[in-house]
Amino acid sequence: MRLPMVGLTTFVIGFAAVHFIALNALPGYIMSTARDRLAAGGIETHTWNMSPRVTPQTQTIVRPSPDLAYSLCLIDVSAGPVELVVPTWPEYGSLSIFDAYTDNVYAGSLDARLPDAPGTRRIIVALAGQAVEAEEGVDVVTVKKPEALALIRRLAPSQGLYDAAAALVPVSTCGPV
């Protein structure tokens, strides 16, 4: 093989390999960094945490919505499945699960106005392969890695609605089954 062809071939191999390795590693790295930052800020695993009202001064994650009240729970299913119990909300609301690769693997409505609103949404998060016994009406979400993150969004554009959303945190659960 001629010298320029050798260089060109290894250039293409190097470009493609590093490009795709970096692209595929980045979401997991960013999620892991975000999780570490939350933990360093005092957020404990398996505990619902009410985020402060979103302002430029309180934002910790990119593109937060200032109209929403956020609550989050860091999940680790390495020791077994984790159950979440969350009350619904009189306006738009959702409970979502994000896996270690940033994928939104579950989203359930918390809007109490919907005809099939459950009143309280219950889900179980488990590692693929873990045995789960779920009652009727309980959604089961499987993840590929033990670390996951649960996020509640509730429409709360005023301080009063934010306070009402915050009052639901003590009656919500996030912990081992």
Binding site: L3, F20, Q57, S94, N104
Partner: protein, 201 residues
């Protein structure tokens, strides 16, 4: 010689591959686009945002600029960083955003700086949403102004103070099935009219 040529090619390729990945993920440059597979009058989106179906470039960009984004069944996100004339949205200019009924249960328009954060100001005017539209006027014919200072007109206002170059994100929660099936025909996109420009701060 072949070994040296191969090594040089490999190292150059690896360096450029890393840089291209960083650029594709929005680690450098503007981060307005979370995905561009869908483009409705300059408002761009991608229905694979948040899902396992996203390609590596969309997935990396969403992780960097839209972490914890929901899948399309729950919410869709459109971003735009230019006005109707095609000029970059900038703190140095004033704009009027005008729109109509949105095909979703609830919607909002929020301003973010080029780093995908809310602009660092204390104006308490970060977004405009369905609640504002319903309160202020007809939710099927609404408008608000974007400016570094509040207008005296009493119209809806979103502050661009401290934003520099910015983009707008249109969130549509619980989007209607028609929007997912045919966004170009279903979404009446908000217009962004430039009202004028002053001295850049």
């Amino acid at each position: 010689m072949k070994l040296v040529s191969g090594l040089v090619g490999l190292l150059l390729g690896a360096a450029l591959g890393l840089g291209a990945a960083a650029a594709a993920a929005g680690m450098v440059g503007s981060g307005a686009r979370l995905g561009s597979a869908i483009d409705v009058n300059g408002w761009t989106s991608d229905w694979t945002i948040g899902s396992e179906a996203a390609n590596p470039w969309t997935r990396a960009r969403v992780a960097r600029h839209g972490l914890l984004a929901l899948t399309k069944e729950e919410a869709v996100y459109f971003a735009r960083n230019t006005d109707d004339a095609g000029d970059r949205l900038s703190e140095g200019c004033d704009y009027r955003v005008r729109g109509g009924a949105m095909p979703a249960q609830w919607w909002s328009v929020t301003l973010y700086n080029s780093e995908s954060y809310l602009p660092d100001n204390t104006d308490n005017a970060l977004s405009y949403d369905l609640t504002d539209a319903a309160t202020g006027s007809d939710p099927s014919n609404w408008f608000f102004d974007i400016s570094p200072v509040s207008s005296a007109s009493g119209n809806g206002w979103v502050s661009s103070r401290g934003a520099g170059d910015f983009d707008l994100t249109l969130r549509l929660y619980k989007p209607k099935a028609d929007l997912i099936a045919d966004p170009e025909r279903t979404l009446q996109t908000p217009s962004i009219e430039k009202l004028g420009c002053g001295e850049a701060p």
